[in-house]
Amino acid sequence: MSIDIANLFKNMASTAGSDLQEDGDNISGNLLKVLDNNKESIAELVEARANGDINQEDFDSELAREKSILEVEMLGLEIASKAAIQKAVNAAIGTLTSAVSAAL
């Protein structure tokens, strides 16, 4: 059984890296979208209060809701990040397993 350890680790890092890069790009795109939605929603709220479309009580309640919605969106991104790390690490372990199997 002979394994080129240096090369194997390079392959593991490369597998994990390419998986993470692809998912990472999606996550940062989604983060920008979430922050944009939040900005737009708060701007709309401030405008409605200024125009008298809503009273102070509704304004306060809507601000609190916005915080909860942002939290749900951020939790979604946290799930996506954990999933990306999990996939990348497992892909690297897969590379290691294949290399060891091939060497047997």
């Binding site: 059984m1 998912d23 989604n30 979430v34 939605n37 929603s41 709309e44 709220l45 409605a48 479309d53 809503i54 509704d58 309640s61 809507e62 809701r65 909860s68 919605i69 939290e71 749900v72 969106e73 939790l75 979604g76 946290e78 799930i79 996506a80 954990k82 999933a83 990306a84 790390i85 999990q86 996939k87 690490v89 497992n90 892909a91 372990i93 897969g94 290691l96 397993t97 060891v100 199997s101 047997l104």
Partner: protein, 160 residues
């Protein structure tokens, strides 16, 4: 250790290494669950239907009693969604998302009951907010999907 035992170990050890590597996978979050995705899509559709229905009514006809059955139906779906999430291992984040959604929906129902109508501004705004909430939950669940080649069969919650 005799010669025969040493030989057996020499043959078995590499296989043991491969088997232990294959079973050693990182699990940070719950497995993807198709049924959860379907429940999320269904309840998202029902919430959207309630808001569209309300928007078709003139403000004075948007009474709570005219819409109470829709609220109850959505409540039932949200509770079923929550129960399923509670049964899944490593699922705290999705469960937290569902709990926040339930609490916002409850707040809306109470507000509608109290005011017995809902303004155009809040109707439009809350509809958009629920779209964002369900989209975040659906995207979160979809992110858990693993590539077909790495997927291992799982019977977790299959019959729930």
């Amino acid at each position: 250790m005799n010669k025969k035992t040493r030989l057996s170990l020499k043959i078995l050890l590499p296989f043991l290494i491969v088997f232990s590597l294959a079973s050693c996978s990182l699990q940070l979050i719950s497995d993807y669950d198709q049924r959860t995705l379907e429940q999320l899509e269904l309840v998202a559709k029902k919430v959207d239907r309630l808001f569209i229905r309300l928007s078709y009514m003139p403000a004075h006809k948007r009474t709570y009693s005219n819409n109470a059955s829709s609220y109850m139906d959505i409540d039932v779906e949200l509770q079923a969604l929550k129960t399923r999430q509670e049964l899944r291992a490593l699922n705290e984040l999705t469960l937290k998302q569902v709990n926040i959604t339930i609490s916002l929906f409850k707040q809306d129902r109470e507000q509608h009951k109290k005011q017995d109508t809902i303004s155009n501004f809040l109707l439009k705004r809350h509809r958009k907010q629920y779209n964002r909430l369900f989209l975040a939950m659906i995207k979160g669940e979809e992110a858990k999907k693993i590539p077909q080649s790495n997927q291992q069969p799982t019977n977790q919650l299959k019959n729930y």
